[in-house]
């Protein structure tokens, strides 16, 4: 299971950039961002410019835009981010099918994106594909939540996190990836290299 840091509720742009940079530096798999309709990919592109490894999932209102316009914005984001873009699509199924086709390099209603996405196909998720949890309790409680979703074979988990990003990376990324996560190694790391 891969963890996705939720930046949608962080109101300060500079704070979103700081958190994204730390997540990038500490090996968090991805982040989810949004914005007012039309500004979602603007926000995502700013995050892409200050990160190198983080997957950037854009949560969009698919009904507020022409599907071609939306797909063009995501394709450009995928080029800017060097294949790190993905989409959470909220909207009508017909619009979603069109966006999915366009972001796979296929024709939709006679239109083919140019440029195409950098990836073979930009992943397009429904909101229900990515459960969300608030990990604001203690570490032990957060670990139990992670175990529960991982054991249920959840591929991605969006997490809200208000403690140091390095702590999320140290204690929960490995746990999300493996049922054999050696907690004692993370605990020992806290003693050797305490997280401020």
């Amino acid at each position: 299971m891969r963890l996705v840091l939720d930046l949608r509720k962080v109101s300060s742009h500079s704070e979103r950039r700081r958190l994204a940079s730390e997540a990038d530096q500490h090996g968090i798999w991805g982040t989810v961002v949004t914005g007012p309709p039309g500004a979602e990919c603007v926000e995502a592109a700013a995050i892409a410019a200050v990160t190198s490894n983080l997957s950037i999932i854009v949560d969009v209102d698919g009904d507020a835009a022409h599907p071609t316009t939306l797909a063009e914005e995501v394709a450009v984001l995928d080029q800017i981010s060097r294949r790190r873009a993905a989409l959470i699509f909220r909207g009508q199924t017909t619009t979603k099918l069109s966006v999915v086709a366009l972001l796979s390099g296929l024709s939709s209603n006679g239109v083919i994106l140019s440029p195409p996405p950098a990836q073979t196909s930009v992943p397009v998720f429904a909101p229900e594909d990515m459960p969300e949890v608030d990990l604001e309790g203690d570490l032990q409680n957060s670990a139990a939540i992670i175990d529960q979703y991982r054991d249920a074979n959840t591929p991605f988990l969006i997490v809200s996190w208000d403690r140091p990003i390095k702590e999320l990376a140290r204690h929960l990324v490995g746990r999300a990836a493996s049922p054999d996560f050696p907690q004692m190694v993370a605990d020992l790391a806290d003693e050797i290299d305490p997280i401020e």
Binding site: H13, R17, G35, P36, P37, G38, A39, C41, V42, E43, A44, A45, A46, I47, A48, A49, V50, A64, A65, H66, T68, T69, E72, E73, A75, V76, L77, Q79, I80, R82, R83, N109, G110, V111, I112, L113, S114, P115, P116, A118
Partner: protein, 330 residues
Amino acid sequence: MFCATRTPLRGPHCVMDMGIGLWCLQSTATNPRSFEQAYQELVEDARLAENNGIHSLWLSEHHAYYDGYCPALLPAASAALAATEHLEVGTGVLLLPLHEPNRVANAVNLLDAQSQGRFHLGVGMGYRPIEFTMKDELISNRLQLMNSGLDALQTTVSAPTWVGVSSEKAARRAGRRGLGLFISGAFSRDVVNGLIAAHRTEWETSGSPGGTPPPIGLLRNLWIVDTETERRKALEWVRSSYLVYAGLGWGADKTGVDFVSQIEASMDEVERSAKVGSAEEIAEDLDGYDVDLVVCRVGYDQPPRTALVEVIERIGQELLPLVQELGVQR
């Protein structure tokens, strides 16, 4: 309320600003490259421009063209702004009738806030029928869409707003609204002066909306060279770059430039209006224009990367000080 510019660019003691353009992020038949490389180079070029004191970098938009001409300028602008601290970034131009105005307003306001006021919104109407068809619009409605789009932006956008024009009629419309003018690089000096006069007169007779004369931005085809051989090569780059417009089907009205039906004659016209020479020669030429901002059109598809980097450096280090000195003297 629209603002044509955050602060007046030009006053009695002010000088012309120098920008670079147009970054189109293409992979053309004349110079194929990867799109990822093009977008990475946009960020690198933005940093390079900033480090050389250049005022702004301008992007350009088209849709569904074979070469990937950038269809989504606002995310691209966001990346360039996020990678820099002082450089201003503008759209030259965003094709407003092809977008939902409320989405544009939301994106522009976020860019404006994120960049501490370094974003400029330039808008135009568009002219390719296929681009309107793919957005389920009729090209015959483009003026109506443009006007309703500007009406919507007027109450919602705070970033400096410019209008790209290719006719005096369009220049007058921009003047009436108190919006800045962004003039194409292919026009002769007479055409440019005609557009500026039409814009200013209409602004004045419309009650001077905004109170301050809206700024004039001028795109100019130019390249700094030292030898005749370099000059000839640069002129070929300028000429061949307009093959893109021929392919796009651009035929500007009543300007002497029609890339659709008279490609060779039009490219000759472009060559005549281009300024390729020493920094001193170019500065003297630019000093003859009554404009606030010159956008040096150097984003051609043919020059090797080393040549582009060199000309950006020379614009900042050689041309900019000369232009500013002449402005102060004037």
